[in-house]
Symmetry: C2
Subunit: 195 residues, 2 copies
DNA sequence: ATGAAACATGAATACTGATTCATAATTCAT
DNA sequence: ATGAATTATGAATCAGTATTCATGTTTCAT
């Protein structure tokens, strides 16, 4: 799918370097404005080298989306592991997500842009995530840790909160106060608006 | 900003026709893939005619974003007017928003793509909206209609829910059951996950 | 140590589509 | 009814950049 794997140490390193440059450049200027020349310049290689490792611009892009998928799942799983109940898991998960956005803003922007550049990849990414999320919520509801409700709709709504807070407070802010945002967001998730 | 206003009945009509074609085509294929030729073809005019009414591709785009801003505010204001309290306003607002997305999916997609095509317009759009929203939440909290909490963070979180549910259930679904989604979403907004 | 396979290079190619412009048709105030 | 202003046309121009490829260089299994 992404051409063949390198067979040399040098090759492996070059490929990785190009991938990181692609993340930086595309995340920075956006898919359309980012040129292959930008990417190879950033990584200190010749223009043609890019095509040794990737079939084209969309290919790197897709690979970055996939990478983000893997990473996010890992981060979230680790963050939530060991939480005593679902509510605590939600709190930790939200915080971890915001922290991850702060750490890899480019990767996060790329996933969001995938909605327009590669809708299928985008859909696959979030559908997969939502399924796992909904399953957790279902289980928690059955155990009585949270109230009953449509797990799928809830999963998407909760992902929406995380995404939007990430956009607004992590990407748009210079020194985001992640703990505060996560706390406020979690309060809403737990209690709703009701008095 | 968007070149000068037409001075003829014919001119006004052509401009409007082009704007609607731009909405359809850009909303459909996305900004990058939509060509001016696509737009003029869709509207049954010659290629050059486009440039009589708009300075360029980004200009129509920006105008569509602005239009969406105006429309959304109007729709939401009307939907919420006359609600007995804030919670009921939230319920009606969410439903109205989802219905609006169903009615003008292209316009909605365009606003979301603005994040990448014209970040400033995107930011202006949502910041303005969020400010008004937060003000309403603050007022409601003071009146005791909803619990206390950071109104700004809440506004963004609630917008996030609406946006994501709109994406998932209105744009991705053939026959979205808007009432059901709105009800489920509202239940979460009102009560949270807590038992 | 060596040569076949892998990798690196960047100038040249190819293509797409935005924008311009000279020319023609239409509108509408007088 | 008329002509100056407005609008319509689409072929030609222009620009940018993705991708290829012929030519070196480097790696590494033997």
């Amino acid at each position: 799918m992404t051409s063949t794997a390198p067979k040399t140490k040098r090759g492996t390193e070059r490929r990785e370097k190009l991938l990181r440059s692609a993340e930086r450049v595309i995340g920075d200027k956006g898919f359309a404005a980012a040129s292959i020349a930008d990417i190879t310049r950033d990584s200190g290689t010749a223009l043609g080298t890019f095509y040794i490792y990737f079939t084209g611009k969309e290919t790197v892009f897709r690979e970055l989306v996939t990478e983000m998928g893997t990473l996010t799942r890992r981060v979230m799983t680790e963050a939530v592991a060991g939480a005593p109940d679902r509510l605590e898991a939600e709190r930790r998960g939200l915080r971890a997500f915001l922290a991850f956005v702060a750490e890899r803003p480019s990767l996060y922007r790329i996933v969001e842009e995938a909605r327009f550049v590669d809708p299928d990849a985008y859909r696959a990414y979030f559908t997969g995530f939502a399924e796992a999320y909904a399953a957790q919520l279902s289980r928690a509801a059955n155990k009585g840790e949270i109230s009953k409700g449509d797990a799928e709709v809830r999963a998407w709504a909760l992902m929406g909160i995380a995404k939007t807070l990430g956009d607004r407070y992590v990407l748009w802010e210079d020194k985001p106060d992640i703990d505060r945002i996560a706390d406020e967001g979690f309060a809403l998730i737990r209690d709703g608006l009701r008095v």
